[in-house]
């Protein structure tokens, strides 16, 4: 009885755990340090969103201003447009960009010729390794009046026009180029999930008279559903956190209407105009929305399926 109590103390259990799993702990240590240094420590700096930050006074020395920076953003004439653009662009990226790698993976999975499959995979991966600045540079050149896209349009009898100066086309260009660049890379995880589906199930299904299509619906998709859902949750969690890099490389004042998003706005105000506190406030607001979305999706997913992040 007494001995059992000793064994149950936290210290004892931790010690035992350490002895048993020492190598695992050591293995995880670098990752842990990385997160503490680069993800948790900088969070302290987020308090400048509530301050009037001056570098010489430092984070702790700058005077508090309450929520002034947030109200300034909410009152800004661009508030509505920034939110709308960010949401629309990410929702389109999600709707069109999320299924694309799954479809590619399913198609590749059905290919019987190993050679063809490898070649296709390599070709679709490659764009992932092209630097974003090169991709956007190509896109800008192709979109010009004398560019490749316009050559194609003109070939089919269309009229030449500067495509990247048309706000109506901006989202299409942004989303489509994103898919082109990431579809191959994104399909890797699904291909590995597909490899894990039990082959006996296919056999059983085909004995029951299921064709290729029925097999896809009833065996393959349920088999990779957990992966899809986890990926979806993570993707939704990042819904609002669109990087500014691609936007600032692709947009110009004539497409601000559809192109200007929260992060590009932060870039312009924060880095170019050195208004650190304000841009931190906008960024913080963005992160809070992201956080809420993540929790929400997780809840929904837990309700309707058995898969969830926690």
């Amino acid at each position: 009885m007494k001995e059992k109590n000793v064994r149950n103390t936290l210290g004892y259990r931790m010690k035992r755990d350490w002895i048993r799993n020492r190598s695992l702990y050591i293995l995880v240590l670098p990752v842990l340090i990385f997160y503490i240094l680069f993800h948790y420590k900088p969070m302290y700096g987020a308090i400048i969103a509530f301050k009037d930050y001056t570098p010489t006074l430092g984070v702790s020395g700058s005077p508090w201003v309450g929520v002034a920076n947030f109200t300034r953003f909410f009152k800004s004439v661009y508030f509505g447009r920034l939110i709308k653009n960010t949401v629309l662009l990410s929702v389109y990226s999600l709707i069109f960009g999320f299924p694309a790698p799954i479809i590619l993976a399913l198609l590749l999975n059905e290919v019987r010729s190993k050679h063809f499959k490898n070649v296709t995979q390599t070709i679709t991966y490659l764009p992932h390794f092209i630097s974003l600045i090169v991709v956007t540079g190509m896109l800008t050149d192709f979109s010009m009046t004398a560019g490749l896209f316009n050559d194609i349009i003109a070939f089919f009898g269309g009229e030449r026009s500067p495509l990247l100066q048309n706000p109506d086309l901006y989202r299409t260009m942004y989303v489509a180029s994103g898919i082109w660049q990431q579809v191959g890379w994104g399909s890797i995880i699904y291909l590995s999930a597909l490899a894990g589906v039990d082959q006996q199930l296919y056999e059983a299904a085909s004995i029951d008279g299921a064709g290729k299509w029925k097999q896809l619906i009833h065996v393959t998709l349920p088999g990779i559903a957990p992966t899809i859902i986890i990926m979806l949750i993570m993707r939704v969690g990042q819904l609002m956190s669109m990087g500014y890099e691609k936007t600032i490389l692709l947009y110009n004042p004539s497409t601000y209407d559809t192109a200007d998003i929260i992060s590009s706005y932060i870039y312009r105000v924060g880095l170019m105009e050195q208004d650190w506190s304000y841009s931190t406030a906008v960024g913080l607001f963005n992160s809070v929305i992201n956080f809420c979305l993540l929790i929400l999706t997780n809840k929904i997913s837990r309700k309707f399926s058995e898969t969830s992040l926690w």
Binding site: A146, N252, P253, D257, M272
Partner: protein
Amino acid sequence: MRNKKRNAALLMAATMTAATIAGCSGSGSSTTKETTAAPASSAAAETTAAGGAEAPEAFSYPMAAGDKLQYWCDLTTTVSANYSNLGDTPFGQGWQENTGVEIEFLHPPTGQMKEQFSLILADGSLPDLMEYNWTVDYPGGPEKAIKDGVITPLNDIFAQYCPNITKYLAENPDIDRMIKTDEGHYYVFPFIRGDENLMNTIGLMVRQDWLTELGMEVPTTIDEWHDVLTAFKNEKGCIAPYCFEYTNGQYLGADPFVAAYGVNRSFYLGSDGTVHFGATEPGFKDYLATMNQWYQEGLIDPDLATLKNDQVSAKITNGQAGASMGQAGSRMGTWTTAARATTPEFTLVPAPVPTLEKGGQAEMGYIENPFSGRASVAITTSCKDVERAARLMDWAYGEEGHMFFNFGVEGESYTMVDGYPTYTEQILNNPDGLPVSQAMSAYIRGNYNGPFVQDIRYLEQYYTMEEQKQTPIVWGQCNGAAHTMPPITPTSDESKEFSTIMNEINTYRDEMILKFIFGTESVDNFDTYVKNIDNMGLARALEIQNDALSRYNAR
């Protein structure tokens, strides 16, 4: 003691001025003699006046060994093409030898000066000397930089250790006013353009060989421009007769077609002596209407908002465009050299700021201030040996330093020919095959910027083509200098409010201008556009500018 020293310094400055007026100026490297002589006499004066007080020692360059100084500055591309540190260049070495000060040069990564500057401030370990645009790019302005304890006010330092710049400022009261804050503090060793021809470096240029072929003159009015561009389109098959990148702030601010309508894209000094915002004035509407018409007629590059420098260069040199704007050196010169490889007759000539009526002279036009704030050096509060730093900087404003910064080393990068400093073959026809701009940048700072007074004689030799030499005269044909905003300094609170307002307005303006030009927004809606800008707080922004201007005028 402090006061006595100041008196001594004032006296010293006075003696120096007197000595120069007496005829010492222009006689080659006389500064060393002057600086040695002047303190001696003032020291003597002080001893007599104060009766045996401690006398400052006679001063001469090079200085005795002492602290190594850290000097932070952007490394311009023409230097970084061949050197990774300014200290490796003959310029950097010569500067240290001549002054006797050991300098450690620190450079931010190319194109990241502002970001690096913020990081250095946040970090708190400031280099001794920092070259930056303290007038415009320090959030809150230069007075705030002093109050924040980042930089040292220089009034006492100028008076005590800087006879050269003190003398220069005494001779140029208009520049003296520009480089002070409203409170009267000096804060930098300034970069000054020493001649008005150095201030109008951007303008229109057009293909002369085509004009000759078509029997046309260099256009001077908006109507003539319309005819010329139409001819380029129809006769020469240009797809982009007039071509420049419409998102590059440097060129937009100088746009001669906006100036033709007597306005400016941003703030300018009106004839009534107050600050105006050009983009909401009636003239701007006419400008937009013309641009929209030209755009519809295919006279302007249809891709104007997505163009970058490379594409503009390509279009000009391969004949898809016939007119553009920019600098005489990096654009007109570079393009002409490049295009002549395939088109020997290729010639670009400068065109003046267009007018609406034939024969008039444009009222507006792009003329910079002699002092814009750029590349000016402040002594930070981290600097331990302020005297050493000040004397190092002051050297450039004396005769010897002036020659060194603009022409380099006599006998190596220039020789005196009939009293005119002439660049050697080393610079103009570099044996290692370096372009003139890079060969110059190794020896001098005269061809870009820095803490010194720029000399026009550099430009006279840098421009090798006849057309380039005409540019200062042709582009200077306007009254633009009267409308350039002086370097005013809003207070720290004002500047914060101002940037909040202008951030929204500028975004909206840039967006709408393009819409008006493309025709996606009718120019008839100009009044709505003006009303929207008013609602964003333009009146308050103008008030801030005007307050700052009246304080500036009162300096």
